[in-house]
Each structure stands twice: as structure tokens, then as C-alpha cells.
Symmetry: C2
Subunit: 121 residues, 2 copies
């Protein structure tokens, strides 16, 4: 994995955006500083870096894959109405132990959805 300008800009964009960015958002941000960049490079680098553990792929939500620069274990919530993504820093280990013993699966990520405080009127 070579240390290219593009890779640095992309990683930096995910950090600066700080909103669980999509490839499109990262591209829009990076293209300002480096107009020649191609979307393919953004897609390729985002998945590589997620694979390598430099970024966290938080899954495909409403059609787009989102990335998080915060790699330490935490979970996410997405509002079904406004699509806002919120970090959930709550400890799930007790329930997950139950899930493990009942369903026999090791959970590493949790994506919750529902209605956020702004949207429930």
C-alpha cells in the first residue's frame, strides 16, 4: 500500500468530514484540493483502508456505504426519517453474551435504526 497524495487526502477527508462520510462526500471534499482525482481512486482507497483497519466501514445505509474514522469499538444509529447517523457509545456486552449463547454468533457491529430526537415531533 503506497503512500500517495490521494490516499493521504482521502484519509484526511474522512477525518475532517467527521460525519460518517460516503464515497461521494469524500470525493467532493478531496476534489477541491486535488481536482484531478477520480472517483475510482476514492472507492478503491476507502475499501482498502477499511480492509486494513485504518477506517471503519459502517455498512450500507439507504443505498450508500458510510465510513468512520473512529475505529474503536462503538455502534451506530441511523434515523429512518432524516438519515442522520449518530454514534452510540453504550456497552452492549451483556446482551451480546446472550446473543452469543442463544444464536451462537459473535457480534462485532451493531447498526440500529429508528427515529431520532429531532424527528419525533
Amino acid at each position: 500500500m503506497r503512500n500517495t497524495i490521494q490516499r493521504r487526502l482521502i484519509l484526511n477527508a474522512v477525518k475532517e468530514l467527521n460525519v460518517h462520510a460516503t464515497a461521494e462526500q469524500v470525493y467532493q471534499h478531496v476534489v477541491e484540493q486535488h481536482p484531478a482525482i477520480s472517483k475510482a481512486t476514492v472507492y478503491r482507497n476507502l475499501s482498502q483502508m477499511a480492509e486494513a483497519g485504518e477506517l471503519l466501514n459502517i455498512g450500507n445505509l439507504y443505498g450508500q456505504t458510510h465510513y468512520d474514522h473512529n475505529c474503536h469499538a462503538h455502534h451506530h444509529f441511523i434515523c429512518e426519517r432524516c438519515k442522520r447517523i449518530v454514534d452510540v457509545e453504550v456497552d452492549f456486552s451483556a446482551v451480546l453474551a446472550q446473543v452469543q449463547s442463544i444464536a451462537g454468533v459473535d457480534v462485532s457491529n451493531i447498526a440500529m435504526s429508528g427515529i431520532c430526537s429531532h424527528c419525533k415531533t
Copy 2:
């Protein structure tokens, strides 16, 4: 919402498939009994029925939207390796109360991911 043959066949396919079917799987199943059906009809009906509460949209996982005929509150797990989807009939209400008080959001669905028992060697 009219009671067409197509709609009946589609609802029935989701029940019979019983594997958190995708639009494609439903289409493949229905086209056997009704060769003239179009994919657009499958997509339209699945989303309408999910909207109406006759089916549950369990979200887009690895690029495809999955539907569940089991509408009663339960959660899901998907294996990151084999993409198998498992029902999780564990009560999350205690943690979700915490999530509500800390993050201020009402969770109605939980999609977990990790490694299933078949895949962890």
C-alpha cells in the same frame, strides 16, 4: 392497494422462501408460477407491502434489500463472511432504554454483524 395475482404470489414467495429474501430471490420464485411477471412489479410490491406493514424491510445488507415475513419485533444478525442472516430473538429493551436516555433516539430495529458459528473455524 388492489388484490392482484402478482401481489398474492409475491407475499407468498416471501413466506415460502423463509430466508429473508431479496427482490431477486422473490422474482426467481414467482416467475416459475407466473412467467409474465416483471421485476418492477416485484420491487414495487415489496416496498409497498413493507410500507403497509405486511412485510418487514430488514435493510440493505451487502448491496441488497432483504424482506422478512415475520413482522413481530425481532432483530437480525448477518455473517460478514457467508452473508447468512439469522433471526435474533433476544430482548434488547434494557440496553435500548440506555441508548434512549444517552443518545435520545428511539431504536426500532437492530442489525448486527460479525462471524457466525459455521464460519468461525
